[in-house]
Amino acid sequence: MIEIIDLFKRYQRLEVLTGVDLSIEDGKITAILGPNGSGKTTLIKSILGLVKPTSGDIRYERDSVLGKWEYRRKIGYLPQIARFPENLTVRELIRFVEDLRNLQGNSEQLIPLFELENSLPKKLRFLSGGTRQKVNLLLTFMFDSPLYILDEPTSGLDPVALIRFKDLIIKLKDQQRTILFTTHIIPLVEEISDKLIFLLDGKVFFQGTCQEIISDHEELNLEKAIARILSNKHHAENIEI
């Protein structure tokens, strides 16, 4: 379980996270939603230790992770932008990451899943954006981790890869793995996630199941419920002005 307690992050004058409190349950798929600049990436980067919070605490399996690095053995991370050393081949990159982790990954199973057989001997600079994203997914999922953190995992994927990605996520959930991901694609959230965290202006605006957010706002589907949240917010801001 991940617990985030009163987390603040300020970049010079810009306040990105303004007191985030939440918990992420084990064995569930949790989606983080929110408009651009709401703090989604900063939040997951804080969990990974890429961003140092201004104040607050982050606990993974009850221990604070701030200033530590060993806990990352238990996390698979998918970065938002898939860029790798240009002159390495895909096969060499896989070996590199395995070497770094001192683990043998199960890339053999995932290579056919993402149709990467022909790309293995190619240098990374010759791969298309979508193929690089598949390599990105492969590097993340080839290690068995209790927790996976994915930053916009579906960007650039073709429909076949997207379906296989969703199947993989559901399979991992059945194996009691915890998955946390950010996205802008609302139908994806409705389809695969158990829980939803909606960030707005650096705070948790809502957390619960998709059904809860829909019924709370008396809408037909998640997309409309979220549109209503955002328009209500604009309305409130206009009144304040």
């Binding site: 990974l48 890429l50 690095w69 060993e70 991370y77 050393p85 590199f96 770094l100």
Partner: protein, 260 residues
């Protein structure tokens, strides 16, 4: 750290830019050697090229390399490794591969021309050592500038200004200050000023080694007196080592609290 160094080296030695860099030195070496037909003169001619080019390439490629690796650094940071290991591994991988390119580019023409039988080996080695020091020093500053500046354009601008300052502007200030204070004893000032710039320091070291310090006139005599002693040599190489180590420690310290 070694794993990152290994793969970074493995990646960079296959980069087109590095191959072009090697070829450039290879061609320049052959041309100068065969046109001049004299190893000693070729070393003196190449000195000026190396003193300008190794810092420039270290600075420019260093900044480009860091910005190109920016997203991959994020992936590495999310792995169970210390930040220090990532940055040290990347920096060493980069400066070693650039030094190797320089070493091959310059070494092959000289070796094939008959360096072994020329009695110029130690002079040639001083040139190589200085070139490698400059590569390490300027690569480190390039990484440092890039770590401080997320804005790529700003990073590029600062790194080019830094190189321009060290390679040209500093000499101008040095020269003007010597003229302005010519009525005072400026020997110590001259020695201190040349230690404070790794390019000047390298130039002095090679010129003294080549025994062409007479070209520097009175200052040359003063330098000869100081740098010619073993104490002077130790101090000047010590200064080059300091120039190489301090920015690396600075990078490690800065990266410790940086947000990515």
């Amino acid at each position: 750290m070694l794993k990152i160094l290994k793969y970074s080296l493995f990646d960079l030695i296959r980069s087109r830019w590095l191959i072009i860099y090697t070829l450039f030195f290879l061609i320049a070496g052959y041309v100068i050697l065969y046109l001049g037909s004299d190893i000693s003169k070729a070393i003196a001619s190449l000195m000026n090229l190396i003193l300008i080019l190794t810092p420039l390439i270290g600075t420019l490629f260093g900044v480009i390399n860091y910005y190109n690796s920016r997203e991959f650094i994020e992936l590495l940071l999310a792995q169970p490794i210390r930040r220090r290991a990532i940055f040290l591994g990347m920096y060493l991988g980069f400066s070693i591969s650039l030094s190797l390119a320089f070493l091959f580019g310059i070494g092959i023409p000289f070796l094939s021309y008959g360096l072994w039988y020329s009695g110029e080996i130690s002079n040639f080695l001083s040139l190589v050592v200085v070139g490698i020091f400059l590569t390490f020093i300027f690569s480190a500053f390039a990484f440092l500038i890039a770590v401080y500046n997320e804005n790529r354009l700003k990073g590029f601008g600062i790194s080019i200004l830094f190189w321009l300052f060290m390679a040209f502007v500093y000499d101008g200030i040095f020269f003007i200050s010597l003229i302005l204070f010519e009525e005072y004893p400026v020997e110590k000032l001259a020695i201190v000023l040349s230690t404070l710039n790794p390019i000047d320091l390298s130039r002095t070291l090679v010129m003294l080694k080549l025994d062409i310090s007479a070209l520097m006139g009175y200052t040359g005599a003063v330098f000869r007196k100081f740098f010619g002693t073993s104490m002077g040599m130790i101090l000047s190489y010590g200064a080059l080592v300091t120039w190489s180590v301090v920015p690396v420690l600075w990078i490690i310290n800065k990266s410790r609290n940086k947000d990515f």
